[in-house]
Amino acid sequence: MAFNIYDLTSFTQSIDKALYSVLPPFWAVATEMLIIGVAILAFYAVVGLYLVYAERKVCAFMQNRVGPNRVGPYGFFQTIADLIKLLFKELVHIKSADQLLFNLAPFIVICASFLAIAAIPFAKGLHAIDLNIGIFYVIAVSSTGVIGILLAGWSSNNKYSLIGAMRSGAQIVSYELSVGLSLITMVILSGSMQLSVIVENQANGWYIFKGHLPAIISFLVFLVASTAETNRGPFDLAEAESELTAGFHTEYSGIRFAFFFLAEYMNMFIVASIAATVFWGGWMPLHIGGWAAFNHIMDFIPPFIWYIGKTAVVIWIMMWFKWTFPRLRIDQLLSLEWKYLLPINLVNVLLMAFIVLMGWHF
């Protein structure tokens, strides 16, 4: 079993072959699914927890504080302790809540983010499924999360929750457009929706450099719109703790609350991954044309590290937004989308199409 840190295709394929050789095809597929499921679940939990930790540390440093520093060295196990606490916490039973929907909502939210992970290429040959409509799939799946939020707000029979849910609905429906259009801009450039192809195309230069101005604009738009789509500050109107206490998850406690909480961070991770993959070349190392030695050094860094590093930078930028800006009001939120982001995006798509048509990109 060849394990090459730079190209995991042979590694994954050898597992695939080994399974098919010992098991009948149905059970081989089932076992593969199980392995992938467990692996992604573990990844999900670890990333979710450590994003919470990272967020707390980042905001602490921005605010001249130390952040979590009691559990473990530098508070490294703080979020694990928090998770254990949430696991043991009482699930408060809301008498007048719609029980089915109330219990279902956190699962819908977490499933949406869970599904989206499947299509993301973590390294060369390391992705659960390489759909030929990868981007389309991610957009479609990640927007189902809003159903969970709406259900949560509706079913908890709380006025604050309802306001939060309605805000969230309006917000995600509008910002979905900008996310989609800014990705379409890049799809025009790459000519493919398959994420692996998009990454391979960036071997000689990331799209953000290749696509001139339209690529940069669409990156900025994507960053803003995806921050809004994940309900994070300054667009955290659905939670808006100074207005609506905790918005749609006011009534949730214990592990159900943890689901919402983890899903928020995973959504952030997913959109950051998409941004890194589509604009910054995913796991592709940084290559600068003509600098052979430099490119060679960059090639030594494993793709997975590149991928994680790029995602981390995008996440850090999103955190930077959150801890700097005040929250928008709902009408400003919508006018930002419909009056600014959407027209800019539409013009940008045209511009990009024109550039691609004329062959002006690198």
Binding site: N64, T324, F325
Partner: protein, 373 residues
């Protein structure tokens, strides 16, 4: 009554929510019954009294020096000004002239307390708008003032530093140095405040044109302090009925005429700068002398009525004492600025959004213990 309101709401297809008593943006235990139509606030009904302690009634049982420590607990952020008001009232009643040094000390302390209070307002206002980082920057700088207070007064928040006839202790030897250091430090930091929040486009859009309070309404509702001055109501007691050293210092009364949330914001920001100017004028000229005049062990106010108002951080704070010649007053009434400011909340937040209600509440800067007394 609330039941009636809810019934009315059902008829008008309105949506009643309780903001508070436990709510992040009411800054304490204030309950606002808000009627909404979607996101639009139709009316706000403040319900106060959750922490009413009957301080005015308690004062009727206490001697005048003992009243002072209770006034700390009104508007705890301008504790020093509240003490100052009571002391001035007692001194005026007894016709005592306090030494010049005392007046200097009190004025400097008042202005430091005002800066500290406005800093806390700034950070909580930022937090009301959703910019959580503001909160920590504001508190970080306020801490420096509290350290100065701690060094001289022995307490950080509830100072009880004034006594009738002077102050408790003389200034700490390091006081002047520390205050000057602070001013140099804070002039740098206030620029940062502007960068972070004042100039921010989101903040400006959320505050400009929101919560309009006209000058006539400000006067009629008795909205004083920075909130009133944001509407162009010239109500600075420091200018109109000078006390302490204000008649000898050169300072501007900050006035804005827009009357919206942003105007109230800018007035407070400018007041911090103006307060620093006042301190700078006074800190180098501190006269030598006693820090208190010798008072009789038991203070008896001559029979009569006495009113003294001072400019606290949130507006005109008044003390109205009726004495019958005994060592305890017959009636003490505190004119609380926040109580009057709160009464205008309903007027200015109608037809605004929920988020605006929070911003307006932040810009009125109410401190609940002062409302409830």
């Amino acid at each position: 009554m609330t039941e009636k309101l809810i019934q009315e709401d059902i008829e008008h297809e309105e949506y009643t929510i309780n903001m508070g008593p436990q709510h992040p943006s009411t800054h304490g235990v204030l309950r606002l019954v808000v009627s909404l139509k979607g996101e639009i606030v139709e009316r706000v009904e403040p319900h106060c009294g959750y922490i009413h302690r009957g301080i005015e009634k308690m004062c009727e049982k206490l001697t005048y020096p003992q009243i002072i420590h209770l006034t700390d607990r009104l508007d705890y952020l301008s504790a020093h000004m509240n003490n100052h008001a009571v002391c001035l009232c007692v001194e005026n009643a007894l016709e005592i002239e306090v030494p010049e040094r005392v007046r200097y000390i009190r004025t400097i302390m008042d202005e430091l307390a005002r800066i500290a209070s406005h800093e806390l307002w700034w950070c909580s206002f930022g937090m009301d708008l959703g910019g959580l980082t503001c909160f920590f920057y504001g508190l970080r700088d306020r801490e420096k003032i509290l350290d100065i207070f701690e060094e001289t007064c022995g307490a950080r928040l509830l100072l009880s530093y004034n006594t009738p006839g002077g102050v408790m202790y003389d200034l700490h030897p390091d006081f002047q140095k520390r205050v000057k250091e602070f001013i140099v430090y804070f002039r740098k930091k206030i620029k940062e405040y502007d960068d972070l929040l004042t100039g921010n486009v989101i903040m400006q859009q959320r505050t400009k044109g929101i919560g309009f309070l006209s000058k006539e309404d400000a006067i009629s509702y008795g909205v004083t302090g920075p909130s009133g001055r944001g509407s162009g109501f010239s109500c600075d007691v420091r200018k109109h009925r000078p006390y302490g050293m204000y008649h000898k210092t050169d300072f501007k009364e900050i006035l804005r005429y827009e009357g919206d949330t942003f105007a109230r914001y800018i007035v407070r920001m400018d007041e911090m700068r103006e307060s620093m100017n006042i301190i700078e004028q006074l800190i180098d000229n501190l006269p030598e002398g006693d820090f208190a005049v010798k008072m009789k062990p038991i203070i008896r106010l001559p029979e009569g009525e006495y009113y003294q108002s001072i400019e606290a951080a949130r507006g005109e704070f008044g003390v109205y004492i009726i004495s019958d010649g005994n060592k305890t007053p017959v009636r003490v009434k505190f004119r609380s600025p926040n109580f009057c400011n709160l009464s205008a909340l309903d007027l200015i937040s109608r037809k605004q959004k929920i988020a605006d209600l929070v911003a307006i509440g932040g810009s009125l800067d109410y401190v609940i213990p002062d409302i409830d007394r």
